[in-house]
């Protein structure tokens, strides 16, 4: 939950200078996704979900996440053109940095130097890393156009 809160705060920081309509809906969808993830996790733990329903139920939190990404894309399209380019370049930094981080960790883990985590243990941290790298990318790219 703490990571979801961090994510929401980071999104708020990323979108601070833009249309509040988008900020509200993106933050809302991130919170709904976090709430659903917690709800589904509790449901899965305390209730014996039918085997046929289980794959659908556990994927429910992904739905607001998809809408959240579409909303971010809409928000990017409506930005001022320089701001949009800055965000695109920052997303490139974020994509590269996240990929390198995951790949490097995988290689080091394969060599037995660090614990080999399962995907189900690390995915919330991955979201966090994505947004941290987006912020980092923004800081780096903004300096270029200052």
């Amino acid at each position: 939950m703490l990571l979801y809160c961090f994510r929401v705060t980071l999104i708020g920081l990323l979108m601070r200078s833009t249309n509040s309509r988008y900020t509200r809906s993106v933050l809302g969808l991130a919170i709904i996704s976090a709430g659903l993830a917690l709800g589904v996790s509790a449901l899965d733990r305390w209730w014996a979900l039918p085997t046929t329903l289980r794959p659908i139920v556990v994927l429910i939190p992904v739905v607001p996440l998809v809408l959240f990404l579409f909303r971010i894309a809409r928000w990017l399209r409506d930005l001022d053109e320089l701001e949009r380019m800055i965000h695109h370049e920052a997303i490139l930094v974020q994509f590269g940095a996240t990929g390198i981080l995951v790949m490097s960790y995988g290689m080091v883990a394969k060599a037995g130097l660090v614990p080999d985590f399962r995907a189900s243990q690390v995915f919330p941290f991955l979201w966090f890393a994505i947004f941290v790298f987006w912020c980092l990318g923004l800081v780096l790219v903004r300096r270029k156009y200052r």
Binding site: D80, L82, E83, M85, K144, Y145, R146
Partner: protein, 66 residues
């Protein structure tokens, strides 16, 4: 790419903020264009040309900035 945006803006006594408002872009965009750090899109270049009542090539030229 070089441009005469700063000169044209100064001739009219506009601040970067005022020009940005007239073009519906951010002040940062105007500053980045003036300093040659950013080349505007074609629609924005047309909007600049329309605002100053000049052809695009009188404001922007393809020579690299010094």
């Amino acid at each position: 790419m070089t441009n005469r945006l700063r000169v044209l803006r100064a001739e009219r006594g506009w601040s970067q903020g005022e020009l940005a408002e007239r073009l519906s872009v951010s002040r940062q965009t105007v500053n980045a264009i003036e300093t040659g750090k950013y080349d505007p899109s074609l629609p924005l270049a047309f909007a600049v040309a329309r605002l100053f009542g000049m052809p695009i090539e009188a404001i922007f030229s393809p020579e690299p900035s010094p």
